[in-house]
């Protein structure tokens, strides 16, 4: 996508106001001792009950952002409000209602599965509950492994234990940092089902991921972060509508020196020494396809023969790559 056009689009105000926020982050910044700025004034609001996917390349600030909300990282500036409470002043009440599944498999590998999950529940101040622990384990297909030592489990099972530990205290807001990193396709789809089931129970989920497919599949809203700044936040469908593109490649029978002037209304270019007429346009809502139909009729009317017409809709991945490679010059942290 043309960078200038992308920037212009990103500067447009975001339409959807956030209703019923569960998390409100304002001007959050974090500069590490070495001088690395991981977060540079992040504004982000999360709606209650939604699945929010935070996309960004390595080192974009995703994990730092999660760490700041969960208490793992001390922010350099800004504010965090969760459940309407200041997360600094009311840290106990806030943390009690948040769950975190970190990216790495980090636990006492020699501990028993059910004990490890019960430990997590206790640490969050809840009374022991064999029934609840079994329910959580059952929901993650771990019940038959409850007496096993964690080190005896496969990588996928270990990741489920991480999720079970995070769910043991029934959090209202759950952070999943790269929940499916390094797991096979089958398990990934299984995880997606688990996440969907959590959402159905009213849990708000914020997940970071490298897999755009995951965001496309799961998320209600998507945010893109890079170099500590939020580049874009919006409903997935709205992003596709605003930033989505249609590309059509028309193989001409005879090469052209330049696009016909009468087709100036269409965003056309010539490639492969004039043998291929390329249309790149649309808005992700079907305008591109309508344009291409009109274009095909216009070409026929002009007597320009073609042998093939290939069309392709841009994916969230294309949008993500475009955004990260040519971010909006203002770099606003708009995340409403």
């Amino acid at each position: 996508m043309d960078a200038t056009r992308l920037q212009k689009r990103c500067k447009q105000p975001f339409e959807a106001p956030v209703s019923d926020p569960i998390l409100d982050i304002r001007g959050l910044s974090k500069t590490y001792k070495g001088g690395t700025t991981a977060l540079a004034g992040v504004d982000l609001t999360i709606r209650k009950g939604e699945i929010f996917a935070l996309l960004g390349p390595n080192g974009a600030g995703k994990t730092t952002l999660i760490g700041a909300v969960c208490g793992l990282v001390r922010p350099s500036g800004g504010s965090i409000h969760a459940f309407g409470l200041d997360a600094t002043r009311h840290w106990r009440d806030v943390r009690r209602r948040i769950g975190l599944v970190p990216q790495e498999l980090t636990f006492d590998m020699f501990a028993q599965v059910e004990r490890s999950v019960a430990y997590s529940r206790g640490m969050f101040g809840l009374p022991p509950s064999r029934e609840r622990i079994e329910e959580v384990l059952r929901s993650l297909s771990l019940l038959d492994k409850r007496k096993a030592k964690i080190r005896e489990l496969s990588g996928g099972m270990k990741r489920r234990v991480m999720i079970a530990k995070a769910l043991a205290h029934d959090p209202e807001l759950l952070f999943l940092d790269e929940p499916t990193a390094g797991v096979d396709v089958e398990l990934r789809r299984d995880m997606w089902r688990q996440i969907d089931a959590l959402r159905a129970r009213g849990v708000t989920i914020i997940l970071t991921t490298h897999y755009i497919e995951e965001a496309e599949e799961m998320a209600d809203r998507v945010g893109v972060i890079d170099k500590g700044r939020i580049l874009l936040v919006d409903d997935k469908a709205a992003i596709m509508a605003r930033l989505g593109r249609t590309e059509a490649r028309i193989a001409l029978t005879q090469p052209l020196a330049e696009p016909p002037p009468s087709l100036g209304a269409f965003p056309l270019t010539l490639e492969e020494e004039g043998h291929v007429l390329v249309y790149r346009g649309g808005d992700g809502t079907g305008q591109g396809k309508r344009d291409i139909a009109e274009l095909a009729q216009a070409l026929t009317r002009l007597g320009i023969a073609f042998t093939r017409l290939d069309t392709r809709e841009s994916s969230l991945e294309d949008i993500f790559v475009d955004l990260v490679e040519s971010p909006p010059s203002t770099g606003t942290g708009t995340g409403a």
Binding site: C70, I98, E104, F110, G122, M123
Partner: protein, 255 residues
């Protein structure tokens, strides 16, 4: 402040269970080592050494050897307890949970101290197999042992946060605590040292701990019991202060 007592209890129980899971290394090994000291210095050589302050040599070294175990075990237990989750990354759970400095200390330091106290009880019971000894001030002895276990568990906790590798974790107990305890009157009375070593020994803080515990056992000490208690309390207060600063600044925890 609403103290999360269930959280503290969860950490405490988890730490104790971790110790019992590795019972050989954490309980049997120190008991065996201390028993060897009793056999060699108490039963074998001790019989050839004349009494000190009217006490048989075997009985004289009981408080010193107990202190040696208390210091090294309290420090190691607490330092490993907090260092391991830092090393594996599992510390995220502690940092993201609604537990503050009080719950963390009750959990980690409490468990380390309790484990040391269990060890102390086992060692005292084992000592009766090799030497005859009595405890003149049993309540003071229990109090002093608990105080030392708490103080050095706090110290170990600081060590576990400071350490950025297993080597550092071992350095202080091996190269500082053990030599200071050996030179702190574990096997001899400071009065037996000539000058200038007697003066040098006065700068070794462990001397006051060993002598304090020895007073509770035998009623005799190189220093007044008040001085020993004062030194121990001062050490404990210093450790609490350092830990408070660590939690306030997030040093090595939330960096």
């Amino acid at each position: 402040m609403n103290l999360n007592l269930r959280g503290a209890l969860a950490i405490f129980t988890n730490e104790l269970m971790r110790a019992f899971r590795t019972a050989f290394g954490s309980i049997i090994a120190p008991v065996l080592t201390t028993s060897l000291y009793f056999i060699v210095f108490g039963a074998a050589i001790g019989g050839e050494i004349e009494e000190i302050d009217g006490i048989s040599y075997g009985a004289f070294i009981v408080p010193g050897l107990l202190m040696l175990t208390l210091l090294s075990e309290s420090t190691s237990n607490a330092s490993f307890g907090i260092y391991m989750p830092r090393f594996t990354g599992a510390i995220y759970e502690l940092l993201s949970a609604p537990v503050g400095v009080a719950e963390t200390l009750i959990g980690f330091v409490g468990a380390a101290a309790v484990k040391s106290l269990i060890l102390a009880a086992i060692i005292l019971a084992t000592a009766t197999l090799f030497v005859d000894y009595t405890i003149v001030h049993p309540f003071y002895a229990i109090g002093f042992i608990m105080l030392v276990a708490a103080a050095f568990s706090l110290f170990g906790f600081i060590l576990g946060i400071w350490a950025d590798g297993f080597e550092k974790l071992q350095i202080v107990p091996l190269l500082v605590l053990t030599p200071l305890t050996f030179l702190g009157g574990t096997f001899y009375s400071i009065e037996m040292l000539g000058d200038p070593w007697r003066t040098v020994a006065m700068f070794n803080p462990i001397v006051y701990l060993v002598n304090g515990l020895r007073w509770t056992f035998t009623g005799a000490s190189d220093f007044p019991i008040g001085l020993s208690l004062g030194m121990t309390f001062a050490f404990l207060a210093g450790c609490v202060l350092v830990i408070a600063v660590i939690f306030r600044t997030g040093w090595r925890l939330r960096e």
